[in-house]
Structure formats: C-alpha cells, structure tokens
Amino acid sequence: MADKAHTRNFSIIAHIDHGKSTLADRLIQLCGIISDRDFKDQILDSLYLERERGITIKSQAVTLPYVAADGEEYELNLIDTPGHVDFSYEVSRALASCEGVILVVDASQGVEAQTLANLYLALEHDLEVVPVINKIDLISADVDEARRQISDELGLDGDEAVAVSAKEGTNVPEVLEAIVTQLPPPTGDPAALLQALIFDAAYDPYRGTIIFVRVMQGTLKAGQVIRFMHGGTEHKVEEVGILQVKRIVKKELRAGQVGYFFAGVKTVADTNIGDTITLAEEPATEPLPGFREAKPVVFSSIYPVATDDYPDLADALDKLKLNDASLIYQKDSSQALGFGFRCGFLGLLHLEVVQERLEREFGLSLILTTPSVRYQIYMQDGDELDIENPAYYPDPASIDYCEEPYVRASIMMPERYIGAVMPLCLDRRGENTNLHYPNPGRVELSVDLPLAEVIYDFYDKLKTVTQGYGSFDYEMTGYRRSDLVKLDILVNGEKVDALSMLVHSEKARLRALHAVNKLKESIPRQQFKIAIQGAIGSKIIARSTVNAYRKDVTSKCYGGDVSRKRKLLEKQKAGKKRMKLVGNVPIPQKAFLAVLQTDTDG
C-alpha cells in the first residue's frame, strides 16, 4: 500500500456539461484498472438518470494506480462529486476529503457560474486547484480565451493549464502527471486516534450499507468497534478496502487514504454524510468540522394514481430510502387522492430524481402535488409553526405574520441577456440585485430570491430567456417576512385539496388562472358543465368552465363492431380506476400533472 507521499486525493469539479464525467472515464481507463472491453462510458455515473441528464447525483470514489514520470507508483484517489446545487452539502463533504481539485473549463464556453462557485468552494476547503481546459477538439474551442479567463476571472495560472480533449483522449496523461506534481500529499498520522470522514454511503442488498470514508487520522481496520460521533451508534467493522470500480479488500485504511468499509449498518439512513468515525474504546476528542444534517427544502405529496398501489408506493419509498438518506417522508392523505406520502427533498432535481425512480424502477403511476417550501408562521398567540403542507395552514385570522425562505442566487450570462434576465428576477420578487462584470461581454448577477419562486419554474424560464447561455447557482440565506395566502382549487364547488398551494399574495391570481386553465384543458367533458375555480378563502379569484358534451355516440355499430365496442367498454371500466373522482367529476392523472407543469413559453 502506498505511503502518504505517494497518495493524492482529488475531485474533479466543473460547470455542468464541461466534461467532468468524460475526463474521469479517461483517467480510469488510462490507469488500466478496467479492461476496455468492460468499459461502460462514464463509469462513475451509475444511475441511468444521471447518464441521461449528464448530471452526477451520487458521488463515488475510485483508487487509480499510476506510475508517474519519476518512475514511482502513486495511488490517486478520485472522489466524484454531485454536480447540482441541490447536493451542495454532499459536494462539500467530498471536497473535505481531498487535498486538491481539478477544475475543468470548457474551451468553448469558458468560465461559468458553477465554475466560480466550485472554485470558491474548493478555496474554502484550502484545496490546491489545477485548472484543465477541456473540449479542445470542438471547432468553437478558444483555448487562448479560456486561458485568459482562468487567469483573469479565477486568479489561477491559465498559461499552465493543461488543454485536453477528454473525448478523444488528447493530452489526458498530462493531467495525471499534474495531479502528482501539483497536488500536495495528504497529512495525518496513522498512529493517532481515529478520525475518518464519511463522504458517501450506498446500499448493498447483500452486505448492508457500504460507507465511503477518508481517513484523516489513525488507522481503520476490520474487527475494530467504531463509533459515529454525531449518530452516536457503534458498529463492528467487518471489512475495509479500496474501490477500483470493483471492491478490493485491504487489511487497513491508514491516515490519508480513501476507501470503504462495511460494519453491519442496515440502511443508509443510519449513517450521516459528514459524520466522523472514531474508535469506541479510544475515541478522538472531537469530530471533524463541517457536519450538518441534510435538511429538505422542497416538499411535495406523492400519491399513487390507483389507490390500491399505496402499499407498493410505501414499499418503494422504503427501498429508495435505503440508498437515499436525504429523502424523508411520512404518511399523508387527501380527500381527492386518498393515501400517499408527504416527502421532503433537497431540491427540485432531487424531487424529479425520486419521482422518476419510483415510476421507472417500481412501475408506479404517481401524482405529485405542487412543490412547496417550508414557511414559518408566527401566530397571534405567540406560537411558531413550520408549515410546508397547505393542508396544515392555519386560519388566516389567527396568524400574526409569515416568513418564507430566501436564497442568494448567482446568475452568469453573456451581457446581452441582462435585459431579459433582470425583469425575470424582478417578476420573481428578486431584491438586492448586484451586477458584476468579470470580463468584457459577461455579467454576473447576484440577487436575493424567494426559494418558492426558484422552485416554481425559475430555472426553465432562465434557460429560455438566455437561450441556454445563462447559468445559475444559489445558496440558502434565511427567512424573510412575506405576504402569504392559501390558494384553493375547486371543481364544481368541491375543493381539490391536493391542488391547494401556499403562494405569495401577489402571485395568487396568476397561479390560480394557470391552474384553472390547465384543468379546463385536461378534464374530459362530461354530460354536465364543470365549473373550475381558484379561491382564497371564500373569494373566487379565477374561473374556467368545461362545457358539457353535446354528443357521445359512435356513428356506426354493426355486426363487425360489436366485439371491439364491448372490449372498449370493458377497458374504460379498468380506466375508471385510474381517474380520481372529485364530487362527480372524474379527474385524470394528466390534469394534476398539467396544473403542476408550468409554461416556459409564457
């Protein structure tokens, strides 16, 4: 096993689509730990969803054996990081496990918002940063401009940056060499009291939770009894090892090393990312810094379309939870939708990932309610409530005031789009705008935005108005006073509780109009008129009508049509189960989805 001097721990960070995963793949391939025949593109993105969207959601690690130009063999630990703002805490823990990062910059796009955000994050962790310019194979590549931006905007040495094409493999070996020569080896004493940082965990159906750690001090071995310093539980280590795509069992992991262990931990939820492991008998005096409990910020209720699928949904969530500690859920019920679960997510992407996995991996057909943030409600009697579910919104007369969560957003774009982005931010109740011109032609807009506006459809709109050139990042900043109302949707006078939402009073009418119009388009006509209304309390603020059918009859029905027609009736009967009945109006799943969908063209 390599000594500390021959170990390097690093992450690759990049703006989305700048080629992080492709570069990681090339590095893995070059180090020969997996045959080309077995090579699946983008090995690290093991979730298909990540592959489809080009976003890394779960981080993993891989240990690369590398013989450097100096003839010595090194152990390079690549710790992959999630590439989305929803998972910024996970990113920070992965970075805390490294001594350095490779910062990838796209040769044609240059420095983007996330490039900057990632750089700041790396600097916060005192990491050495090695810039790499990628995609030099593109016709639109401008390596000199990228070098200039790296120097001017990032304050790094752009002239020394390795320029590569990860896709074609050009100059990739130089990146490995730069890792060895430019990144510092880890510090730490193998003989000290054990302190190991958990940066990720995953569920293995045969062994329980596999926990990924960076050993900071001391030595982790099989047979030791360890303690989670924040979680408080103790476990006996069954196996330790390193990852070379496959697991390689080792005798021990010493200070400075990155690897995995099993300790009979049943579910991922029993571990906390960022927790410190120490020995039960000889514990370290204090945990490693930076621990935070992952807190959900976006909430939505999930219902099965067919009520009898509820047990399957419960089962599926239990299974997802095994691998996704940040997913929280509890039973919920709705008059319109029956039994379901109120779920908390790290962000909208996290919500979408969970929804897609439930639908694809578990074959469930789902209805999700409008995503909500968590509001703080201050009652007249001095009570304080945290409300994220419109169902629990108290009587407005008893409320003193409300507060809603805000973020500080950073939007990076070519200067010509500022005229479109600024009104968008103001429309979304943006405040404290601040413009920064990192270099001619580009602008970084900082703005305070309510999180509720961000999770609505801000990102889609931003992409539209900047024709895809705008990039966006944000961090939570705290709560501010807000004028909140509860908007109800009524179908033929009956409240559809699952469509209720908490919104800012200025936005209520627009949201109500959107909802009633979407419902009008997607509720099939009945033999009677259907009135759809949006209301705050007893005040109707929007309405639409689905006209009654005049006619519902097939023109021709002769001897050859009988069987087909009967089968159609029988099929419709099965289809009825998939409709939700509100009063006497059947509402199809797509109507619920349509209300939640926002128009990005409007």
Binding site: K551, T554, C557, G560, V562, E570
Partner: protein, 379 residues
C-alpha cells in the same frame, strides 16, 4: 329472443379505390385474388352449413368493400348456393351494398332477378365538390340514375347512405344533401357523422371539431335539421344512424342489435351464435390459404360470459329506439336486471337518457346522442 331469425353476413373486400376516411377491411380490386377468393367462398360456404343447424336464412347481407363491383353472375351464383345449401325463409331480406358508379340497368336487373331484394347505395353526398374531396369516384347524377334504375327493375327497398360533417361542409350544404336524398324517396336512409379513424389519411389530416371540419355548433345544427327533415319525410329514426319508413327497417341489422345469431363468410367477417363471437382472417390471401389447407380461418373466437352478453345487449339496445328488452336480459342473467344494474339504470333515468316502459329500457333522443356514455354506466 322473439325477433331473432338467422342471418348471414358475406364480406367482399374489394373496392375500385380506397376512400381516405374508410378503415373497413377493404382493398383495391385484384382480379386474380378475387377469382381465388370466389372459389374459397364456395368451399367455406359448404363448411359453415352445419352451424345453421337446419335453420333457414332470414336475412343475408352482402357487404364490403364494394360487393357490387363483382360480376352479377358471380354474386348470383353465390346467392344461389346459399339458397341451395341452407334455404331462405319466405320473407327473407337479401341486401346488397353498392357503389352508384358501379351499376348499370342490366346489372341491377340481373341482381334483382337473382333474388336480391334490398339495395343499399353509398350516395354519401350530393355535392359534387364534397364527393371529390372525400375520394368518391361517382357523381350525384350517378346516384340519381342508379336509384331510378333500381326502382325500375323492382328494388322497392332502397337505402341511401349519407355522411355529414365532411371537411368544409356547411350546415346549408348538409341540408341540401338531405333534401336531394329525400327527392329519391328512399325507404331507408343511413346518416353517419364522419368518423376520423386512426390510420386513415383523414385520421392523420384532421382533428375533430377543428377546421376545416365543422365545429360543435355547426354539427349540432346539421344534426338537428336532418332529424327534423327525415321525420317530416316519414323516415323514422330507429337506430342512432338509421331511419326508415315503418316496416322497412333493415332486419339484418336489427337482428344484430337484438343479440341474434348470424353466420359469416368472407375475409374479416364477424359472426355470432348464442354468445359465441368470432371473425375470420381479414387478409383475403390468408383466408384463402386456410381454405385450401382445409383449416378454419379464425382470426378470433370468444365465448362470452353471461355478463358480457348482457353488456352487449344493453350497449346495442341503447342505440335503438326500440330499446333494451328486459325479459331476455333477465333470462340471461337469472336475475332481475333492475337489481343487477340498479345504480346504472337510476343514473340513466336521472339524466333523462332512458325510460323504463313496456318491459323495455327505452332511450330518449338525448339518450341516443349519449349512447356510448350511457352504455359505459353498465360496464
């Protein structure tokens, strides 16, 4: 069931050309294949004789396709074989579907003397522009001539098929079509609303209710006018799309709608015998292959449960002004249908779609317009 005689439906799939709205089992005429099919039909006819169990045929229906485009001698020969093998009842109704463009006085005379006594002409419209737009090869005058000649050779029982709701058709044009049809004094008229069938050129080209198709209000106006005009002319509505002078209803179809038995012959033809439904292979070549190999050319065969048979009776009966006979339904289910379908029957009446009278569930005019939704209540 009281009104039930035995029917036979013969399907002849050939047409001079495919119409862009049609999704029937039909294809362009192919001489060689048609010869082969006629031979196959002769064989198949002999094989289905035992299904009749000695019952004579009360109705025979030559449908298609455009059966009248085959030579009169061949059609006559087929009919003669049926008569020879199974026999006809004294008042047997023998229908033939025909395209106005494919008829001559001589042919009509030959068909009439071969025993056909009911002629159904696919007029579709009397507007030359609309006829062209829907791909029909005949003119309004072809229809008028064919109707006159049919009457001269003794086809007293004449039906005209019309389609309304055609692309670009105005309510005035639709009214003119009805008037033109009534001038020919048919004993029977079938009026269909254009159906956009998936997989047809029209199905791909048009959206229901969207221009150039008439909108909701125009469609309602056309229908309202047609119902009134037909009634005034003495043609009573007896099914969603069918109108006749009293006593001139198509018995073959009435038998189908009452859950009666009918045999079938030809590619894709459906048959029904006491709760067993089947269809023959729809591809003429495959149908003939099976015939030549001595196999049954089944495309499907299903035995219905009592509930399925009951559902069919309701579904079909709610499309007719006669309504659903409750006694046969009770016999089938072994229980009072009012018990089994209580909520659905209550809904029907509450919505004003049907009444219970004289042991029947009788749809109102509003109920006829909502027959699909009405049947769905029983599923």
């Amino acid at each position: 069931m009281a009104r039930s005689g035995l029917g036979l439906y013969l399907h002849l799939p050939y047409c001079p050309a495919r119409c862009p709205y049609c999704d029937f089992n039909a294809k362009r005429y192919d001489h060689g294949e048609a010869r082969r099919l006629l031979a196959g039909l002769a064989v198949h006819l002999e094989r289905i004789v035992p299904l009749a169990q000695g019952r004579p045929l009360d109705t025979v229906y030559f449908g298609g396709g455009t059966p009248a485009m085959l030579p009169a001698t061949e059609l006559a020969a087929l009919l003669a074989r049926m008569r020879g093998l199974m026999g006809f009842t004294p008042r047997a109704e023998i229908s033939l579907e025909a395209n106005p463009g494919a008829l001559s006085r001589g042919k009509l005379a030959a068909l009439r003397s071969a025993g056909f006594n009911r002629l159904s002409l696919g007029a579709q419209s009397f507007d030359p522009g609309l006829l062209k737009a829907i791909g029909r090869g005949h003119t309004p005058d072809d229809t008028r001539r064919a109707a006159a000649q049919a009457r001269q050779v003794g086809f007293g029982d004449l039906n005209l098929d019309l389609i309304h709701g055609l692309p670009g058709q105005s309510p005035a044009q639709a009214a003119a079509d009805i008037a033109a049809a009534l001038e020919l004094e048919p004993k029977h008229l079938s009026l269909y609303e254009l159906t956009l069938a998936p997989g047809t050129p029209f199905g791909r080209q048009y959206r229901p209710g969207q221009p150039p198709l008439p909108g909701d209000d125009e469609m309602a106006a056309m229908e309202q006018h047609a119902l009134a005009a037909l009634e005034a002319a003495g043609l009573e509505r007896y099914e969603v799309s069918n109108f006749a002078r009293p006593g001139m209803e198509c018995r073959h179809n009435q038998n189908t709608w009452a859950g009666g038995d009918y045999l079938s012959l030809g590619p894709g033809a459906h048959g029904h015998l006491s709760g067993v439904r089947w269809a023959w292979l729809s591809d003429p070549a495959e149908y003939c292959d099976a015939m030549e190999r001595g196999e049954e050319p089944h495309a499907f065969r299903e035995e219905l449960s009592r509930e399925q048979r009951a559902l069919e009776l309701i579904m079909l009966g709610l499309r007719t002004t006669h309504g659903v006979e409750l006694a046969p339904l009770a016999a089938l289910l072994g229980t009072d249908p009012r018990r089994m379908y209580g909520p659905a029957m209550a809904q029907l009446q509450a919505r004003g779609w049907a009444l219970v009278r004289q042991g029947r569930l009788i749809p109102t005019p509003a109920g006829l317009a909502m027959a699909d939704a009405a049947a769905a209540l029983f599923a």
